[in-house]
């Protein structure tokens, strides 16, 4: 029997690549218009443009599918996941990096059916790295198969995370004490692109390649997690809730890790803080 979602994934990859080209073009142009208007406005324009392009290209081929996209949600659309085939999209992951031309910017496209993530695509466009993962079929970067590090010893781990300041001093305190607790174990390093908006997609790909042993984040969104979660899982890694329980796409938090042992140890050390679920079911 033919693989029902293979077609969708191929379309997804081609659309991600096109989106990457739009972003690279915007990066070039931005250099000359930076002084004219606020960088944030420019970026928002590109985010919206890229998301519309992605959704309309896919909708043309699959008119009955549903969509959850960062910019659509920002404009008021609901982010409820039904059983219907659903595309979960972050048009530009790493907005702050994009503004500064710091070279980690990605398009993230996840695809779920019956609330299960079937495949994920993350295109890190400045580096020209196309990461893909399909349930049961492995994870790849530019055709090369990915495998997590398999590291089980937390004291030999390189951990990535995000520390965004959400104008709430209690949240900042929790984020920093989480970092401190892990660094004190001691782990090999706590690193990573670290931003108020999030470069989650690239971080998760680095776990999938084995270049890092774990990534955890509290405050992330479903469109940042969907693709990365399946890519890490297909590379042999684990994806879980920050409390050690099963991963919940709408929960605003996750741990991805090279092994259950590392994942569970991180879950033990870190404290979550309330974020407001993406599906509003608090």
């Amino acid at each position: 029997m033919a693989d029902p979602w293979q077609d969708c994934m191929e379309i997804g990859i081609s659309v991600a690549r096109q989106a990457g080209e739009v972003i690279l073009e915007a990066l070039k142009n931005q250099i000359s218009v930076m002084s004219k208007s606020s960088p944030v406005d420019l970026v928002t324009e590109t985010d919206q443009k890229v998301e519309s392009m992605i959704i309309s290209s896919i909708r043309e081929k699959f008119p009955t599918h549903s969509f959850i996209g960062e910019e659509s949600v920002a404009a008021g659309a609901a982010s409820i996941l039904t059983d219907n085939p659903t595309w979960i999209i972050d048009p530009i992951d790493g907005t702050t990096n994009f503004v500064h031309r710091f070279p980690f910017v990605a398009v993230s496209i996840g695809f779920a059916v019956n609330k299960q993530i079937e495949f994920g695509i993350i295109y890190s466009c400045v580096e020209d790295k196309m990461y893909t993962g399909k349930k049961g079929k492995g994870a790849f970067c530019n055709g090369e198969q990915l495998k997590v590090s398999g590291q089980e010893d937390i004291t030999k781990s390189l951990i990535l995370t995000e520390v965004g300041y959400k104008k709430n001093p209690d949240i900042a305190k929790t984020m920093f004490s989480n970092m401190e607790r892990l660094v004190c174990i001691p782990v090999h390093g706590l690193s990573g692109p670290d931003t108020i908006v999030g470069t989650a997609a690239v971080n998760m790909c680095l776990v999938a390649t084995g270049g890092a042993d774990a990534y955890y984040h509290i405050g992330i969104h479903c469109w940042d997690m969907a693709a990365g979660a399946v890519i890490v899982a297909e590379a042999g890694g684990v994806v879980m809730d920050t409390n050690g329980g099963p991963f919940d796409l709408m929960s605003r938090r996750l741990i991805t890790a090279s092994s259950k042992a590392v994942g569970e140890r991180i879950a033990k050390e870190i404290q979550a803080f309330p974020c407001g679920r993406d599906d509003g079911k608090d």
Partner: protein, 288 residues
Amino acid sequence: MATSEDNEMYSKQWEGCMRIAVQTAQKAGEVIRDAFKHEKEVSTKSSPVDLVTETDRLVEDLIISSLREKYPSHRFIGEESSAAGEKCLLTDSPTWIIDPIDGTCNFVHSFPMVAVSIGFAVNKELEFGVIYHCLEENLYTARKGHGAFCNGTQLQVSKETDMSKALILTEIGAKRDPNTLKIFAGNMERLLKAQVHGIRVIGSATLALCQVASGAADAYYQFGLHCWDIAAAAVIIREAGGNVIDTSGGPLDLMSRRIVAAGTVEMAHYIAQEIQTITYERDDQNAN
């Protein structure tokens, strides 16, 4: 009084050295790329997270022996030679200041941010710097008075003076005691409270400093880095139009184990003002 002819000759001398430095860095990068995908034997130095591998030592030997062959009268300060007991003494002699693998922890994990750094000083003045990002094959170079480049494209720092629009890079350093971590986190918190765009830790001081030189980051600050991390990058940033200062706000002190670098002097001073000191022993502590 030196004539312009004298200056030209003086300058040309170091041009030759820089060419050799570039070739050497690229050869070293090849060795590192080969070793990258394989299993690494890791030991530790000053702490359980201060890592070193066979490749670090091999590459440093390779670099020093290649350079010594061409310049037998020159002196060398290298990370691994230092670890083996050599003193970090900077004299007036032409001196090569080398980090064979910047980002050893990244190298151990195959996290793709690893560089070779070769700086060069004469009369205690930094003359040129070469930093080679081994995996991306990005070659950053600068010679005093001749600009800074990455793969032939000229580098220009950011002109940002507003902290609330800044992207800042930093590193944790080797100390992991609770007091150090408290100060480290406190520094990050203070900057985030000032509404900076973001703070990044990529695991390689020299590559982070190159991001400042290219304008992709607005500033870098760190406690705990070494003279062999600073030497090349300082020239590259200055030649790209940027500033490097001490964390106290005073002039850069190569052996002080600390730095603030930024596109603009305003940004450099804002950061110096915000950050609290983490003390590390000077690189030249035992050199006298």
